[in-house]
């Protein structure tokens, strides 16, 4: 099973977390599930690295954390995007688009 899934590229986890939280606030487990669903199980996120990443982003003030009641009725720590987090997501999306565009250009060149 693991062979069919890609380990997530270094440094993109932060960007994915920001993207998921830009839709709606979520707790850690929710983020893990959504990552799994959205990427249709293609990308494999090491769940252990999710929490350090969340705390790192919180420390950079890109995320805001709050204890709230979850859908099961228990208290969970919900993360939401701050305005500077939203700005950061824009920056990262931009640079990602430029990088992937450049990589595609290089590949196309090779196919010609």
């Amino acid at each position: 099973m693991p062979s069919a899934r890609f380990p997530i590229p270094q440094g993109t986890l932060d960007m994915l977390i920001l993207q998921i939280l830009s839709l709606e606030p979520a707790h850690g487990y929710g983020i893990a599930q959504r990552l799994e669903q959205i990427s249709q199980s293609v990308v494999q996120v090491n769940q252990g690295s999710l929490y350090p990443a969340l705390h790192r982003l919180e420390q950079k003030k890109w995320l805001h954390a709050e204890w709230k009641q979850s859908e099961t009725g228990r208290e969970a720590k919900f993360y939401s995007l701050t305005s500077s987090g939203r700005k950061q997501l824009g920056i990262e999306k931009d640079s990602w688009a430029r990088l992937s565009g450049a990589v595609r250009l290089i590949f196309d060149e090779g196919n010609r």
């Binding site: 487990y29 769940q47 252990g48 929490y51 350090p52 790192r56 979850s70 208290e75 720590k77």
Partner: protein, 453 residues
């Protein structure tokens, strides 16, 4: 900085993380059980997916406070505890360090004040002391490097070399400000004194050239900032008020900028008086315009394009001519031929004076350096003493260290622990001697606030 704050609220952070991870595991377990896994299997898989709870915790802690800082904080805590356990060792070491550091800082601050610190004026590095080497064939009073007021005025005309030349003399006057006269240190200065130094007023104005034109015609004084604050409680209506200087009424026209305390560290003036009023400031003195009464020190500010050596060489022809002219002036004293030769052989000498002029410095510079060297040696001895103590303690800690090595601590890790020991001790020693001067520095604050009630 934010990371350091995290260290102090780590209990709160830890319990939050525990709850967060527990929530994750519980949700994952119930989801997996819905898929049909037995509970123990689900729990095992949920933990495996996270890659082990202790590992995750450790990684998150690294986010809160980077690893080395965290280790360092733990080291310091451990050191503090072990020092508290062996009190006599700690007391001895801290005390000897405190003595060594305290003596050195005390003497160094003295050396710095008296010998090293440049005056708080514009470009102090361009200031030079102008001195007469040889026989001036003159009478005089005062301490060192003295010349007469008219010769200072002559030097002011040498603007090929100097941007400005000031002269000053320190004296003590009887000053009364609406009450009993009290002795106050005063500096008698040429009119360009403040503009040449680049010192401005905190209030009103400073003395100017107009205050130093005609003898006796400008009864004005400028007060020192500290004097104004401490003796007059910083009253803003001091401007224009009359004070008595040796029973002569004079008007306060300003207060100097706060940092400026004259150009002599040994004698901080309370007020400045223009040289034109010297007859009033110095009882029985009427020789302001006498070329052969030496009583003022002369400082020059070199032009930016002139070096000290160039100025010194360039000044000699004018100086020789002036000497020659002086011998033919009316009122030149009758002196012996040898003395006349000595007078004519005089020359002018410039020395750098970024720290101003000070007879105190002149007298104390050598003893102060010697004292400083001695305290440095004392500090060395204190360090040696502490090193010996540490050595003795080290052999007593042999067991502890070999235990830690056996438990898997690396040599570097243990070295860092020992460094933390030394650092903590040094800080304690420094703080011990720092605490005392800080309390001594404000002796009159405490009673003042008590009286206020």
């Amino acid at each position: 900085m934010k990371q350091l704050l995290n260290w102090f609220r780590r209990g709160q952070l830890e319990s939050g993380l525990d709850r967060e991870l527990q929530y994750h595991i519980d949700r994952r377990v119930s989801d997996l059980m819905l898929c049909g896994l037995p509970e123990w299997e689900a729990r095992r898989q949920a933990t495996l997916e996270l890659g082990g709870l202790p590992q995750v915790r450790e990684e998150v802690r690294d986010v809160w406070l980077s690893r080395w800082l965290r280790d360092f904080a733990y080291d310091l805590r451990f050191s503090a505890r072990s020092f508290l356990r062996s009190r006599s060792f700690t007391a001895t070491a801290v005390l000897s360090l405190a003595l060594g550091i305290g003596a050195t800082t005390a003497i160094y601050s003295l050396v710095n004040q008296v010998l090293l610190q440049a005056l708080p004026v514009r470009q102090p590095e361009r200031l030079v002391l102008i001195d007469w080497k040889g026989d001036q064939a003159a009478n005089g009073f005062g301490s060192w490097n003295l010349m007469s007021y008219p010769i200072c005025r002559d030097l002011q005309l040498q603007d090929r070399f100097f941007e400005g030349v000031l002269c000053r003399a320190a004296t003590t006057v009887n000053l009364s400000i609406g009450g009993e006269p009290k002795p106050a240190a005063a500096e008698i200065v040429s009119g360009n004194y403040f503009s040449m130094l680049g010192v401005g007023p905190a209030l009103g104005r400073v003395l100017g050239n107009d205050d130093d034109r005609t003898p006796g015609a400008s009864p004005v004084v400028v007060l020192a900032y500290d004097f104004w604050r401490t003796q007059l409680a910083g009253a803003p209506d001091v401007l224009g008020s009359k004070v008595l200087v040796n029973q002569h009424p004079m008007t306060v026209v300003g207060v100097t900028a706060p940092a400026f305390r004259g150009i002599d560290v040994g004698e901080v003036p309370s007020l400045w008086i223009p040289a034109a009023m010297s007859a009033q400031a110095i009882p029985g003195f009427n020789d302001l315009l006498d070329r052969r009464t030496r009583w003022m020190q002369v400082l020059g500010r070199l032009r930016p394009d002139v070096s000290l050596a160039q100025a010194q060489v360039g000044l000699q022809p004018w100086f020789k001519a002036m000497l020659d002219e002086d011998t033919r002036r009316a009122g030149f004293p009758r002196i012996t031929v040898e003395r006349r030769q000595r007078f004519l052989a005089s020359r002018i000498e410039l020395t750098p004076a970024p720290q101003g002029h000070s007879s105190l410095r002149r007298r104390l510079s050598q003893p102060l350096w010697v004292l400083f060297a001695i305290t440095a040696v004392l500090l060395g001895l204190a360090c040696l003493n502490v090193a010996g103590l540490f050595l003795a303690r080290g052999s007593a800690r042999d067991r502890e260290i070999s235990t830690r090595l056996a438990l898997g601590a690396s040599r570097g890790r243990i070295g860092r622990q020992l460094l933390a020991d030394s650092l903590l001790l040094a800080l304690a020693g420094g703080a011990r001697c720092g605490a005392r001067p800080a309390r001594l520095a404000q002796p009159h604050r405490v009673p003042a606030s008590r009286c206020g009630r």
